[in-house]
Every structure is written in structure tokens, then in C-alpha cells.
């Protein structure tokens, strides 16, 4: 029975760029049920063992499976298929770099546009949430064992959910006043509405997780105290420590890490100052150094708080930018300007060190470096000045060390990430870790996948008591 092939992707309604740079509402409005069915009907339903989309997804969501359920108008069924491997579809559907994962090798790509898997996944989660549809959740009877989770980012939340379902008593400790990790303090509202994160956290509480905010493990409670009190501990502490370049003038006023800039705006709601107490300084021109998701988020947030002109300054060329395609596209639509092959060399302030100028140098691309990307090399004599009121560093982050500062037994790599083996076991018995804390800056779905696999390993450890003599480091 030959179905007509629909080559074109069904467009996702979006807020108009001119309007949206004045608000923090979500940019992509998402599919309606009708549009979702239409997009779903384009899927060729490749067999499970073969489907390249499933192979491309880090948590192997059964994509043709849930798409089929959408066509059958069985949203509860679709949600349950997704939940088999992914408990946060409202989040991953929005923030996964789909073009490098599930959608990369979609067969439809050979005939026309690839299936918009991300937006379909998001549709299922949103429709279910808005209509009070819940996936059947089987929770095993309590087994009397306790697990502590440190950090409430996607890795911690996922590990917590899975362990509760296995019958464990789970407590999540979070340093900030609100749970969610980067999902709350980093990724802006216009890309991931906070209500969605709140909903997931509420669900976790509903199935029995205890969440203790305002507790810094290593300070408020020591890791050893957790080890003594719990049967196992999972560290999902992320990679939240920002890097700066130690250039002249780097501590002038008006220079921020992306984390500070985004935390003020997202977590502390500085865009509502003075109704909210936390301020952000708004000037005319802002430049972001870096070209990943974090950089795009900072640039687009800057427009929304009122900067008139926003630049992305990147030391390589367009094709090396690491941000999601959708983010780059949205940033361009909103009027963010891109400057390639430039690196900052100095920041110049006025007599009170209020930032006025960033001095840049032009680069050319040299030989590929260890990451396989061509290395930027400064061209002498090409320095020039860009007048700015603010600069945001988005050049990468290191793991938060607040926890391990005083725990020498926890071995780290030369990048500061925690050493773990293939079962996410750290060098301390009973202590597991996953997410950005072991990978360095990675993605939400990889952090989630780690949380899931670590939960399995934790269960195995608590049941068997087995722990290896030596931890064989896994490389990520």
C-alpha cells in the first residue's frame, strides 16, 4: 500500500522575531494536535532494529513507536513509549541538538526533509501535561534502602526518578534555592519555560522524592556524612564553574561570565528589576565571547533585557560553531551580529574601570588541533577596537569543585572531571557520578542517560555489595 511521500517538514509556529526580542515567552510555539499528526504521518516507520533515528538518540527513544501512537491519537501511549527510556521529553524535545542525534540519519532525509522528531517529542510531553495525562508509573514496594543524590540537574533528577521506581528512598540535595540545575539557572525561559522544569520536579516529589534545597554537600553536610547515612550516593554536580581569560582589564565592571549573566536573568529574574531585587546592567552594546549554546542564550537574553546591539565574537568560522542549529538560526533572525575569526586581547575601561572597549585580533585557521578542528592563529598587526558596554564570557565551564575541595579520595582527571568507570563508580566506595561532572560540559540528554545507567549500577551495588578493587577510568 503506497502512501504518498510528504517531502516538506510541517512548519512549527513561532513568535515573530520583532515581537519576541521584547519578551521572555517561548519562541517556538510547538505543534497543535493536527500539525503533529501531519508531521507524524511523514515518518516511514522504519523497523525498530534498523531505524537510524533510534540509534542516533543517546537514550534510544523508540521514535517510530511513539510517532505511530501520535497517528493513532493515543497520546498516553506515545508518552509511555518515550518514558521507557526518557523521563524528561518536554525538556529534551526542546533542547537536544537533534540535528546531530536522532534526526541526523533519518531516512526521510534522503527523500526530502528529515522528520521533526524533537518537536513531536515535545508535542507529546506538552499535550500530556496540559491535559493531565500521566504515564503509568510502576513503583516497586519500598526496599528499605536509601540513596542520596547530590545536584538536581538532569542527571540527578533522572537518577532519582529511576531509583524511586525501583523502591529506594531517595533524597536530592541542591545547593541553590531552586531545583533543576542548568535547566533552571542557565537555559532561558524563551527556550525552556520554567513551568516545564517545575512540573518535572513536582512529579518527582509526587512519586516520593525528598528534595532539600539550600544544602551544599561539602559545606552544609560533608560527603562522608552522606556515605555514612545512605546506602549509596550519586554525584550529579555538573560543570558549573565558568572560565575567564586572564587578559588585561578582565575584571572591569561590565564583564560577566555567561553563568552570572544568565543566573541574574533566569534564576533571579533580573529582567523584572526592580520588581525583583536582583539587577542587571543594561547598556547599548554587548559582545559575547564564544559560539556554543551558552553564548547564543546570553546573546539572545541580552537583546531581551534591552541591549540594542549584540555581537557574537568567535575565534573560528561559522562551520565550527557548536550551538544547536535552531539557536543559531533564531539568534540571526533576532538580529544578533556574528564576527568570526576574532579573539579578545585586552579590555579597556574608563577611569573607574567601566568597560568601554574590547580590543580584538584577527585570526586565520591553522592546522587541526586534537579536537580535529582547525586551530585559530592570531595574525600580528590586525588588532582593532570594538566599543562595548558589556562583555559576556561563554568560553566553557569546569566541574564545580566545591564538593571535592576537601575530599582527596575522590580522584579527578586533568580536566577536573570526576574519574568513574563504566558503571559510573567513583574512586570512593558507594559513590557514583554522572552528567557534566564526569563529562565536562555536555548535553542534557547525555546527563539524563548517565543518571539512568548510574541508577541501574547503584541498584546492582546495593543488592550485591560488589565493588571493584580498582576503578578503571572510562573516557567520555
Amino acid at each position: 500500500m503506497a502512501k504518498p511521500i510528504k517531502k516538506k517538514r510541517i512548519a512549527v509556529p513561532e513568535q515573530d522575531p520583532k515581537a519576541r526580542i521584547h519578551n521572555f515567552n517561548e519562541v517556538a510555539l510547538g505543534y497543535t494536535f493536527e500539525l503533529a499528526k501531519e508531521e507524524a504521518s511523514r515518518c516511514l516507520q522504519c523497523p525498530y532494529e534498523y531505524a537510524p533515528c533510534i540509534k542516533g538518540c543517546p537514550v534510544n527513544v523508540n521514535i517510530p513507536g511513539f510517532i505511530k501512537k501520535i497517528l493513532e491519537e493515543d497520546i498516553k501511549g506515545a508518552l509511555e513509549v518515550i518514558h521507557e527510556t526518557n523521563s524528561l521529553p518536554g525538556i529534551t524535545g526542546r533542547v537536544c541538538p537533534q540535528e546531530q542525534q536522532c534526526e541526523m540519519n533519518c531516512v526521510m532525509g534522503k527523500l526530502g526533509d528529515k522528520i521533526n522528531i524533537g518537536k513531536l517529542e515535545r508535542f507529546v510531553a506538552d499535550y500530556a501535561r496540559e491535559h493531565g495525562i500521566m504515564a503509568e508509573t510502576k513503583i516497586a514496594p519500598k526496599n528499605g534502602k536509601k540513596v542520596a543524590i547530590v545536584g538536581s540537574g538532569p542527571s540527578g533528577l533522572t537518577a532519582a526518578a529511576d531509583l524511586i521506581k525501583m523502591g529506594y528512598d531517595v533524597t536530592v540535595y541542591e545547593a541553590l534555592h531552586e531545583p533543576g540545575g542548568v535547566l533552571i539557572y542557565g537555559i532561558p525561559e524563551f527556550r525552556l519555560p520554567k513551568d516545564i522544569v517545575h512540573y518535572e520536579v513536582k512529579f518527582l516529589k509526587m512519586i516520593g522524592a525528598k528534595i532539600e534545597t539550600n544544602v551544599v554537600i561539602g559545606k552544609t553536610i560533608t560527603l562522608q556524612e552522606l556515605i555514612d547515612e545512605y546506602d549509596a550516593v550519586f554525584l550529579g554536580t555538573g560543570a558549573g564553574t565558568p572560565k575567564f581569560l586572564n587578559l588585561p582589564g578582565v575584571n572591569c565592571k561590565g564583564i560577566y561570565s555567561a553563568n552570572e549573566f544568565l543566573t541574574r536573568i533566569n534564576l533571579m529574574k533580573a529582567y523584572k528589576f526592580p520588581e525583583y531585587d536582583t539587577p542587571i546592567k543594561v547598556g547599548k552594546r554587548l559582545a559575547v565571547i564564544g559560539a556554543g549554546n551558552v553564548a547564543m542564550d546570553a546573546a539572545r537574553s541580552a537583546l531581551r533585557v534591552g541591549f540594542e546591539e549584540v555581537y557574537i565574537l568567535y575565534r573560528r568560522t561559522r562551520e565550527y560553531m557548536t550551538a544547536r542549529e535552531e539557536e543559531i538560526h533564531h539568534a540571526e533572525e533576532e538580529g544578533v551580529k556574528f564576527m568570526f575569526l576574532v579573539s579578545p586581547v585586552e579590555f579597556i575601561g574608563d577611569e573607574n574601570c567601566n568597560l568601554k572597549v574590547v580590543k580584538l585580533i584577527m585570526n586565520k585557521l591553522g592546522e587541526p588541533d586534537s579536537s580535529g578542528r582547525r586551530r585559530p592563529e592570531p595574525i600580528p598587526g590586525t588588532e582593532f577596537a570594538l566599543e562595548v558596554d558589556a562583555v559576556v564570557f561563554a568560553i566553557g565551564q569546569r566541574p564545580n569543585k566545591i564538593l571535592y575541595q576537601e575530599v582527596p579520595e575522590l580522584k579527578t582527571t586533568k580536566w577536573g572531571t570526576l574519574v568513574v568507570d563504566e558503571k559510573y563508580r567513583t574512586t570512593m566506595r558507594g559513590v557514583f557520578a554522572g552528567g557534566d561532572a564526569v563529562r565536562g560540559e555536555a548535553t542534557v540528554v547525555l546527563a539524563m542517560g548517565d543518571g539512568k545507567r548510574a541508577a541501574k549500577a547503584i541498584d546492582e551495588y546495593i543488592r550485591t555489595g560488589e565493588w571493584p578493587e580498582e576503578i578503571k577510568p572510562k573516557t567520555f
Binding site: 545547593a175 541553590l176 534545597t213 539550600n214 560577566y256 543566573t263 531585587d277 539587577p279 546592567k281 566545591i402
Partner: protein
């Protein structure tokens, strides 16, 4: 939520509160601080731990009303609740028996100085406390300091109490008169700490300063609190707040503290108008 159980006004605009925060009270050590947020719309601000009591799970804080958040906190009464308190944060002050230790505190640095003084005393040091205030009205914690110091030298800027002069004058005289000093700890206005460091540098006395940059999270995540120490960028909330005073770039710290002056004024004006 964290309940305020007791409150006192120590001097004009300087208030003392005792708050229920059992987890903080259990782990606190001298030199550490907490970050609090009063309510849903509040800002996160750091305050140093003055005293803490494991037995009843309370902590004591002393703060000066300087802007919106501290004024608002000053309006809270026993029974009122603070939404968030996280801590203890920062590295505890390094305490050992140096021999003779001098603690120089200025103004509202006094509560921090007090906690460190007590810890140094308990470690067996001969402790000389130098505390300075604007004038007689602002003298706080005198009795407290007396209990934990071997010598207590008080000064006021205008001479309205004990003597006239700054803490720097007192330290200079003490050292010039052959006073012994194996270690100096200083906390207070940035400019004072800078001048204290200049004095002790000449004498080659190891000196730590407790720095107070603007902070947001207090857990090493934002870099708002960065300071330059020995040419390197450090985050005061996790690498400090204490640093080798001879290595600190105090001018930079002074400048960074003024970053939000304009916004702070707007917030305070709006608050004062709303209240009155």
C-alpha cells in the same frame, strides 16, 4: 523557611538577629558566611556568621542597613521567616597558634573579626584586638571582644569614644612601640584592609584579609565574586573569602563593589517609598 527568634538594634542601622538554621549551625566555622534570600523576589546576599549554636540550631548575624535587602531584613521581627539560607560557605579562616595574633576589624567587619578572634584565642594565641568605629554611637560588640581578647584597643574616627584615630593609626603605634605580632587578620572597609596590608608588609607580618565582593550564588558558579590575588583570578566564595592581604588587588575590589550603584539606589528608593 528560617525563623528569626531574636533581634536587637546594636547601633543606628546595625542590627543583630538570631535565626533558626540547624544545618548551618552544625557545620559552621570561624570566617564562614551564609547567603540568604528574604522572599520569592529577593536578592541573594552574603552575611558572615557571627556566632552559631549546635545545641539549639541557631545562628547569629550582625548586619548594617546599606541598601534594599539589608533595610528590609532590618524590618523583620522575631517570628518572621527568611525564605532561604544556605551555608556555611567559604573556606573557614585558617586557625593555628601563631604566638601573638592581631585582629583588626573596622565597623561592621567587627562580627567577622569577633568569630576569628575567638577561634584564635581558643587555639592558644595571645590575641590583640583592634576595633574601630565611626563614632561612639557605632561602637558595637565591645563586651564580646573583651571576653575573647588578651588586649583590646578601641578607636573612633572622631575621638568620641576612648581615642581618636583609625585602626591603622592604632596598629602603627602598636608596632612602632615594639608590640609583638606574628600574624594579622583584618576585616572591614576595603580601604582600611588595604592600608593595614601596607603597614604589615613593611614589617613582613603574615596577614590575611577577609574580602567582601558582590556575590550571587556563593558556590563558585557565577564568578561575580572574582578578585585578583597575586595576579591570578580567584573566586572569593570558594577560594576565600580570606586571602593573603599582601597579594590582593584592593583597588580592583573597591571598583567592582560599585558596579550596581545606580541600580542599588533605584531599588532602595523604591523600597523606602513603598514602606513609608
Amino acid at each position: 523557611m528560617f525563623e528569626i527568634v531574636d533581634k536587637k538594634v546594636l547601633a543606628p542601622n546595625i542590627k543583630w538577629i538570631r535565626v533558626k538554621a540547624p544545618l548551618v549551625a552544625k557545620s559552621a566555622r570561624a570566617g564562614q558566611f551564609i547567603v540568604l534570600r528574604l522572599h520569592e523576589k529577593g536578592e541573594r546576599i552574603p552575611l558572615t556568621l557571627f556566632k552559631w549554636h549546635k545545641e539549639d540550631g541557631t545562628i547569629e548575624l550582625v548586619f548594617q542597613e546599606v541598601g534594599k535587602t539589608t533595610y528590609e531584613l532590618g524590618s523583620y521581627e522575631p517570628g518572621d521567616k527568611i525564605m532561604d539560607i544556605v551555608g556555611p560557605l567559604g573556606k573557614p579562616t585558617h586557625i593555628e597558634n601563631y604566638g601573638t595574633a592581631i585582629v583588626v576589624s573596622g565597623g561592621v567587619g567587627a562580627p567577622i573579626g569577633y568569630a576569628v578572634t575567638r577561634a584564635l584565642k581558643e587555639a592558644g594565641n595571645h590575641v590583640v584586638s583592634i576595633i574601630g568605629f565611626r563614632n561612639k554611637q557605632y561602637v558595637i560588640l565591645e563586651d564580646e571582644f573583651r571576653k575573647v581578647s588578651d588586649e583590646l584597643l578601641i578607636t573612633t574616627d572622631d575621638g568620641s569614644y576612648v581615642r581618636k584615630g583609625f585602626t591603622t593609626d592604632v596598629l602603627k603605634e602598636y608596632l612602632a612601640n615594639g608590640g609583638k605580632a606574628d600574624y594579622v587578620f583584618t576585616v572591614g572597609p576595603v580601604i582600611m584592609m588595604k592600608l593595614i596590608a601596607d603597614i604589615t608588609r613593611k614589617y613582613g607580618i603574615k596577614t590575611d584579609a577577609s574580602l567582601n565582593p558582590i556575590m550571587v550564588d556563593g558556590t563558585g558558579m557565577c564568578g561575580a565574586c572574582r578578585v585578583t590575588v597575586g595576579g591570578e583570578i580567584k573566586f572569593a566564595c570558594v577560594d576565600g573569602p580570606d586571602f593573603d592581604a599582601h597579594q590582593v588587588n584592593f583597588d580592583e575590589l573597591l571598583s567592582r563593589l560599585t558596579e550596581y550603584k545606580e541600580e542599588e539606589r533605584i531599588a532602595l528608593d523604591r523600597y523606602v517609598k513603598g514602606v513609608h
